[in-house]
Symmetry: C2
Subunit: 421 residues, 2 copies
């Protein structure tokens, strides 16, 4: 069934739906187009077109597999980043325990593609979505689902919506990253109250604790480690209080893309509990990495001996206007590029098959469908040139492209990644 | 064929693909789901879910139809806003001449759904896309396509790519909105040079002039009108120079969503030319309007006697966390709401079927999948409540939703609008 769902992706017609694909491929299926191994630069792709580097994608998938394994961490990469079932399966083939997700719609996509273990890093109080989760659990004994609880009221709403479910829903208490931080219970006393509520709920089972160190206020290595130690201490306290009695494993989860080194360090200190600890890392941005925010924040900058990530996206745009010596405009804008954390950066220029660095070219703004480029006297840029942009923030890059060509270094497109947003 | 393409939208399976739709409707087609006339609040829709108001959408469609007709303007609403073929057809049923678009992919979507007249408000120098346009023109005598030219090099690239096409591609010279503004030719002398290049190109035909007053630097009514008069004067000069000889009509086009009153005023002054003028207005944001940017900028604020627009979007989100008296978090973020011009605004709260104003509730930030809410002591807000958000910027609202329920005031969902981004 999983293979069926993935195989059906290759049977989709290229048609008119997917930005950047060759117009003369409209009558082909995606699988047929992939089999043609077209070249991104010479075989009819239209701009703007976002491409993933085949080699860099593979490198990044391997880098976090190795990292998690070396540190004894289970890995549930955050799938909200790509929302690409093909990538979910490549992550799982590389040892991931399951996939982390943020909202029920994302869980439905993952289930459609046969993902067996889902960690929903949110409290879920939507009654219709909870009924669907319960039905999915009833229908498939292999489906493992865990989500957050962070309030007594949330527990009550969940329990009411799940009335009649034959299998309880597994939950972890979310510890907030600090005062004024995002979701999660703010104090250990309130955590205990929420856990008490779970204990009194027929349809829920407490299986651990979790949180997100990426929201620690004024985060630095010391503050992040201090919060992670609070999280581990909460697990120990809960365990000593008998709250995890009878479990096969106890979930302790944290870890975005900026502090997985701290998570590895502190989770290495988790003492023996009454059941084995499932130390679950949830980093997601690594899969494509980026040319901005996560390039600055990746923990591999602090531990370069442990590996590194490579920016796998390149957004190819075309110069459509060069109205003055200081300005140029390409045909990609807010519809095509991430712009929430940083503007794109001009990396390379292609003309007549020759690629060179984008010297003297800076992206200064995005309209809906245009990029604004400032050019210095060093810039050699003409109408018709392709400009390859680096992007910042994988999450808001993936979500602008429903089908993404995966190209090898010479431009040969070997695969197409489908996203579901 | 058009009706076929639209009908096929109703045959799409609801499945797992579309955010916010009821999980128990997965086996239905979109048409079957619409026929059930479900209620947005009580019949299984999951949050977050973006809804369009049926009545407000209708109101807005009528408002610009009336405005354009009253002022003798042809209307090619910018389709990049919605990229919704169903809305394109409703716009055309209400008298629109055709649809404006920004990039070739959007033209392909419009053509798939039988749109006969397309104004591409960009220079198009992508050879693969130009070959597709030429083939489309050859295959369908009723297809009318017009695009910008703004450089001699652009004209040369277009002419080379179109070599062998049996019908020339119609172009208009784009006059830039000023020094440092976006695309377009900066001076009248350069406009003449570009027009000369078109005259020398076998595959192109000059049919008019165009531009975008929304980019006039430090725009105010006087500066915008001054630029519009330059545009009209350019048309007159070109006409007097015989550049439009033999045409059935001469295109003069401007008009976004912030200055259509100025466009109406100045285009009323277009003198008699050697052929009738097609005065083409291109406003697009009006279709959904918004609760922010365009609410402030709409020309109807200056001419309230001529009509008005109503914000037709509401993004329904659910409170998943209430960690302190000052904070709450809902389950919609950058994946769901426009955030490029303003943050969303909390409009209403629903609990147990009762809707009330969102007193004391302010959206202070968006994460990828969360909205951050600050609450004052006046706010009555609990985990599980639905919060209805108003959005700013139609373009970046539509593009986050592939299928949008259209709901009447009582919540009855009467239609679903499909978008193609």
């Amino acid at each position: 069934m999983v293979l069926d769902a993935l195989a059906r992706l290759a049977e989709e017609r290229v048609g008119h739906r997917f930005k950047g694909l060759p117009p003369d491929a409209a009558d082909l299926t995606v699988g047929e187009l992939a089999a043609q191994r077209r070249n991104l630069f010479t075989d009819g792709f239209t701009t703007p077109v976002l491409a993933l580097s085949a080699e860099r994608l593979e490198h990044n998938l391997a880098a976090l597999e190795t990292y998690a394994e070396r540190h004894g961490l289970a890995f549930a990469p955050h799938g909200k980043t790509s929302m690409a079932p093909q990538l979910f399966h490549r992550q799982i083939e590389r040892g991931a325990w399951g996939i982390t997700l943020a909202v029920p719609h994302q869980v439905r996509v993952a289930r459609e593609f046969g993902i067996e273990r889902v960690f929903l890093a949110n409290e879920l109080v939507d009654a219709a979505a909870l009924r669907w989760v319960a039905a999915e659990q009833d229908a498939d004994p292999a489906f493992r689902f865990v989500c957050y609880v962070d309030s007594v009221r949330g527990v009550e709403l969940m329990d009411a919506a799940l009335d009649g479910a034959s299998r309880p829903v597994d939950v972890v208490v979310e510890l907030a990253a600090g005062e004024g931080a995002r979701t999660g219970v703010r104090t250990e006393a309130e955590c205990a109250a929420v856990a008490d509520a779970v204990a009194g709920a027929r349809a829920l089972r407490l299986v651990g604790v979790a949180g997100y160190e990426g929201e620690v206020p004024q985060a630095d290595p010391e503050r992040v480690r201090a919060w992670l130690r609070r999280l581990v201490a909460l697990a120990v306290d809960f365990d000593e209080a008998g709250r995890f009695a009878g479990l096969d494993e106890i979930v302790v989860s944290a870890g975005g893309s900026a502090w997985f080194d701290a998570v590895a360090d502190v989770f290495a200190e988790v003492p023996e509990l009454s059941a084995p600890a499932l130390k679950l890392l949830r980093s997601g941005a690594y899969v494509s990495h980026d040319d901005g925010h996560y390039q600055r924040l990746t923990p591999f900058n602090r531990v370069p001996g442990e590996g590194g990530l490579e920016p796998a996206f390149r957004l190819w745009t075309q110069v459509v206007s060069r109205p003055s010596a200081e300005q140029a405009f390409t045909n990609a804008g807010k519809r095509d590029a991430a712009y929430d954390l940083d503007l794109p950066v001009a990396r390379v220029v292609r003309r007549d098959g020759v690629e060179r660095p984008a010297t003297g070219i800076e992206v200064t703004g995005l309209s809906d469908q245009h990029a604004w480029l400032r050019t210095s006297s060093e810039a050699d840029l003409e109408v018709g040139d392709w400009v390859g942009l680096g992007l910042s923030h994988p999450c808001t890059s993936f979500d602008k492209w429903a089908l993404i060509p995966v190209a090898e270094a010479d431009g040969t497109v070997v695969d197409y990644i489908r996203t579901f947003f």
